[in-house]
Amino acid sequence: MATSAATISRGTVPDVKAFDSFLAISLIAVLASCVRAIWFTPVDAMLGAAQKNFYVHVPAAIVGLYVACGLLAISSILYLWLKDERLDRLAEASAEVGLLFMGIVLVTGPIWARTSWGTWWVWEARITSTLFLWLLVLGYLVLRGAVESPESRARLSAVMGALAALLVPFIHLTVKLFRGMHPQPVVLKPEKPSMPPEMLATFLMATVAFLLLFFALLRMRMRWATLRDARAALEGA
């Protein structure tokens, strides 16, 4: 224990910085894409101003549902195999940051639905899957909080993360057997995206900005976890 604490304190502990320039850049990018979406992108002829929600909702969904949950699943499965504590920190960080982005999806969705569908909530396949995924990640984080030893915490939560990766297709299939009314994908679909170029540019900009923000937060969260583990190792030594 003493040797591992020593190596951690000498080598791999990240510097503690008051100002994170990566985070600052990503926040500026998000702000810029919001400005562009509100003032410099044409208003949709059919959906009106409510369509602007699209530039937040869909990038957040791509980042929160695909990137964050994908990272969580992959790092959990790899942890069971390689037993590398960095993978555990990656899983922890992607779960927490992913929860935030999925939260954005679940908040912006109903706001848009109220104006376009006339109701806050619809039990539709994509929406229901997202809600269950959000609850699943929340359960994952509660499990992490309930285990004392870092090794057990990593191992047990990796088991849950790996099983959750198998569960998601099943949940999606289940809720899909109920009929859906969610708008079909307009960007990530086999044919060319059906959107005017200005809107597509704004959308892509917002997606890149959200990705930057995600990775900035992920990096910050992983640094924090590394420092926490290093402190625990020092205290244990």
Binding site: G139, L143, A146, E151, R155, L156, A162, L167, L173, L177
Partner: protein, 238 residues
């Protein structure tokens, strides 16, 4: 431990089921002699049936529309009562360490626990199903065999996933509280297809209507029984 045991005390493949059945028998014997969890789960289930009966207006919603949901909510929660005990049982006097040090493979420990939980859940269901049929005045008709098959199919998945998470929860501070939080999302692809299939049977619709749901149920069983068996050894501290 026993996986690296010398050849003289080697693990014999055919013993997998024998070991599992022996462990299940032990758990069920303890349960049979104390009857604490089984009684609690059954009383809970019947109480829940009675309470649900008063939460809706029978003139507005026909019983066969409501009963499948009620049935599966009750099955899920009463099952959780038994699952909580599954590994809690082994923690007294550190019996689990003894079990792990024994000749049994990790996989047969898991299979034994799943088997015991399956029998437990099926026992509770055997008493709850008639109670629901009685209080909700259901006509199951000729398809009762199919209904039992579906109940067993869903219970297998429920027992497998539930046992795995019970093993995880036993290592945490909040075992009883954490188990429902972790398992309920996993029960979604079980409970919804099971309730939908039951609804088809109770309404007297042709069984073909339930086929997509039934396939989903079977796929879940296949994938998750295998996956849980594979990851169970990771829940054990070496």
């Amino acid at each position: 431990m026993n996986t690296t045991a010398p050849a003289t005390a080697s693990h014999r493949p055919p013993a997998f089921f024998a070991d599992a059945i022996r462990l299940a028998r032990k758990d069920l014997l303890i349960e049979f002699r104390t009857r604490s969890a089984f009684l609690a789960a059954t009383v809970f289930a019947v109480l829940a049936v009675v309470i649900f009966r008063f939460t809706w207006d029978p003139t507005a919603i026909p019983a066969f529309d409501l009963a499948p949901g009620v049935l599966w909510v009750i099955f899920t929660f009463s099952g959780l009562l038994g699952l909580n005990r599954s590994f809690g049982l082994e923690q007294a006097e550190r019996a689990y360490d003894g079990l792990l040090a024994s000749q049994m493979s990790r996989e047969s420990i898991f299979a034994g626990k799943v088997l015991a939980n399956l029998v437990f859940v099926a026992g509770v269901q055997a008493l709850t199903l008639p109670a629901v049929a009685l209080f909700f005045d259901l006509q199951v008709g000729s398809a009762w065999g199919v209904l039992i098959g579906i109940v067993l199919c869903a219970s297998l998945g429920l027992a497998a996933v539930g046992t795995l998470f019970a093993a995880i929860a036993a290592n945490t501070r909040l075992a009883e509280l954490l188990l429902p939080m972790m398992t309920l999302p996993f029960f979604v692809p079980l409970v919804i297809p099971a309730a939908q299939t039951s609804a088809v049977i109770l309404r007297g619709q042709p069984l073909d209507d339930a086929l997509p749901w039934f396939k989903l149920l079977l796929a879940f069983d296949l994938v998750f029984v295998t996956a849980c068996l594979a990851v169970f050894p990771f829940t054990i501290e070496e």
